[in-house]
């Protein structure tokens, strides 16, 4: 690719740089703060210490919240995979009457304000006398992670060359084996990308958990918010750093699994 030149080129560079700065700089600030010796979180940090990490790791409530978030995100991702893959396949490949309507409903969490969805869910679950916070959180999170699987898998399915599947059928493969041996390998990157989005959306979710969590079952973002309202010391930055690292690990895991470039379709 050639270098960009002229006024348009300059604008492109400025915008790209600004984009990167605004995405990465706040993360750098947070990570830097987590090593600060000051007692309140101010930038620039003063000194260097890992004591906040020791404190945070020793904090039972933090460990509980972190574990809750990891388990919740993992469960929501698995459930979204189990529901989203067949749903996307059926929507794309079978001539289901009302498929468009079903797809719109499945994807509606993308559009509806999640905070309102969470409140509505809380009222609905109260009506049904559903009192188990773990179950409620799980259902709420599946609701907002499922669209990511449906969307990415549908997009991948549309890109699969249908004659590959037809060739496999003529060669004697039953519909299931066509899917397993031919379709699935073609859409694996899309599935992986969808799972990554689902995991991160759940792990990072505030508006749903805000309504459905309890003092006993509290995901990390809610715990962070609670801690922050008590005292704004660098331990907040430390906990945030754990969140960032989890995201990075998820991305690396995906890269190892299927290759991120393929997964993101670039």
């Amino acid at each position: 690719m050639g270098r960009l030149s002229g006024g348009g080129g300059l604008l492109t560079y400025v915008m790209a740089t600004a984009g990167l700065v605004f995405i990465l700089a706040p993360l750098v600030v947070v990570v830097a703060l987590s090593f600060s010796q000051a007692n309140i979180a101010t930038f620039p940090p003063s000194g260097f210490t890992t004591s906040w990490y020791e404190a945070v790791l020793a904090d039972d409530e933090f460990r509980q919240a972190f574990l809750t978030s990891v388990v919740l995100a993992f469960a929501a991702t698995v459930a979204s995979f189990a529901l989203g893959l067949p749903a996307a396949y059926a929507l794309d490949r079978w001539q289901v009457p009302g498929a468009r309507a079903v797809e719109t409903v499945l994807l509606s969490p993308f559009i509806l304000p999640i905070l309102i969805t969470g409140l509505a869910l809380l009222q609905f679950m109260a009506m049904l006398r559903m009192r188990d916070a773990s179950t409620n959180l799980f259902i709420g999170h599946v609701l907002i992670t499922l669209p990511y699987l449906v969307r990415t898998v549908t997009a991948s399915l549309k890109q699969v060359d249908r004659s590959l599947e037809e060739a496999a059928r003529t060669l004697g493969a039953s519909p299931w084996r066509v899917f397993r041996r031919i379709t699935a390998p073609q859409i694996a990157p899309g599935i992986a990308a969808g799972c990554l989005f689902a995991f991160m959306v759940s792990f990072d979710d505030f508006p749903i958990s805000f309504w459905l969590s309890t003092a006993e079952r509290m995901p990390l973002p809610i715990y962070l918010q609670n801690s922050m309202s008590k005292v704004f010391d660098p331990s907040i930055a430390t906990m945030s750093t754990f969140t960032i690292v989890t995201g990075v690990l998820a991305v690396i895991g995906l890269e190892k699994l299927v290759g991120l470039r393929r997964a993101m379709n670039v």
């Binding site: 060359d161 004659s163 590959l164 037809e166 060739a167 496999a168 059928r169 003529t170 060669l171 004697g172 493969a173 039953s174 519909p175 084996r177 066509v178 041996r181 031919i182 390998p185 073609q186």
Partner: protein
């Protein structure tokens, strides 16, 4: 292949094919309209026609990829109309090759055998034999993306024949290749098909491909069969104007029967001149005659008496040198076009004394007159 492996041979279990009253309606469009056709075991039949004529839909109904609205498909005498694709035992070639991109060449070829539950040990020699047949033995471990288009289609051919299909279906298999490669692949596929005795159906819009490869050609138009016959029959005895113009080039002359003589009908051509025709289908007064351009020869108008047979006057419009032949485009006195292909012998250009504006006498042997239906 290791020395121990049993030498495998690619064999065939070809069957005959019959379709009867095959019809497909998409919404309000009739794509295929009641096609009935029998194809003998080991025969290669080409479905030829312009795009939208229903040839691909017909092939896909035979394959089972499209469900017919009406009619039946019988393979080896068995009705398979409701049999799913994967139990029909067919091999199919697609225009875009449709090789599985995540599997190696050998794995692609092995796929159909695996689906049939053939053991790994039995698969290996069969795959090797099939790849040897298409001269790609050394490419077994490559991925399809590393092969050229022609090589990819040969892998697809190996993959289709290794399962010993009852039927080989070819859906515009060479459409994506350039001309020279296409011609050599036509010969190669034809040789392998003949050697193995596989029953095959070829869909193409390329008339040369159909004539080169097929035992019989089926001309389709508007979802119907226009004519079925050997390439020679289709070319020299077209039933309709459509067939005559679709296969090769043709001149069409309107005329009226004015009498009989010893050799046949005498016909007055609307553009002036006369024609004789021994072929006749009854008492028709108005006739449409097809004359192939290569049958037409040209002479100066004054020499018309020396040229017997059928003929009429024409005005030269354009002379185009085309290598093998010189194409002379003319108009008749009633405004209709007339085309003559004059062969160029080595070292001499044909009839260079004809130039635009010349009045000429176009004539041809009366045996070249062929009546066609105006369809």
């Amino acid at each position: 292949m290791t020395a121990k492996a049993t030498a495998a041979k690619v064999t065939s279990r070809a069957a005959d094919l019959a379709v009867s009253g095959l019809t497909k309606v998409f919404g309000t469009t009739i794509a295929v309209d009641g096609i009935t056709l029998r194809i003998a075991s080991g025969e290669l039949v080409a479905l030829l026609g312009p795009s939208g004529c229903g040839k691909t839909t017909t092939l896909r109904m035979i394959a089972g990829l499209v469900e017919p609205t009406e009619g039946d498909v019988l393979i080896g005498g068995l009705r398979v109309t409701r049999t799913p694709v994967h139990r029909r035992n067919i091999g199919m070639l697609f225009q875009n090759y449709a090789l599985f991109p995540h599997l190696s060449v050998a794995e692609n070829v092995a796929f159909g055998l695996e689906m049939r539950g053939v053991s790994k040990a039995a698969i290996r020699p069969k795959v090797a034999a099939a790849l040897a047949l298409v001269q790609l033995g050394s490419f077994a471990d490559r991925l399809p993306a590393a092969l050229s288009g022609g090589q990819q289609q040969r892998v697809a051919l190996a993959r289709a024949i290794v399962i010993e299909p009852a039927l080989l279906l070819l859906d515009e298999p060479l459409g994506a290749l350039d001309r020279n490669l296409r011609e050599s692949m036509q010969v190669e596929i034809r040789q392998i098909q003949k050697r193995l005795g596989i029953t095959a159906v070829l869909v193409t819009h390329d008339q040369e491909e159909a004539l080169t490869m097929a035992d019989r050609v089926v001309i389709m138009n508007g979802g119907r069969l226009e004519q079925v016959g050997t390439p020679e029959e289709i070319y020299s005895r077209p039933r309709t104007r459509f067939v005559a113009s679709f296969i090769g080039a043709s001149n069409f002359l309107h005329g009226r029967v004015i009498g009989h003589d010893g050799s046949g009908l005498r016909i007055a051509l609307t553009g002036g001149g006369e024609a004789c025709m021994s072929h006749s289908d009854g008492e028709t007064k108005e006739v449409l005659i097809s004359v192939r351009p290569e049958a037409v020869s040209l002479a100066a108008l004054e020499e018309r008496a020396q040229h017997g047979g059928s003929g009429l006057p024409a005005t030269v419009q354009q002379v185009v040198y085309r290598g093998q032949a010189t194409h002379v485009h003319m108009t008749l006195d009633d405004g209709a076009p007339l085309l003559a292909f004059l062969p160029n012998r080595q070292g001499e250009k044909a009839k260079e004394d004809f130039s635009p504006g010349n009045r000429v006498w176009a004539s041809w042997p009366s045996s070249s007159n062929w009546p066609v239906a105006d369809g």
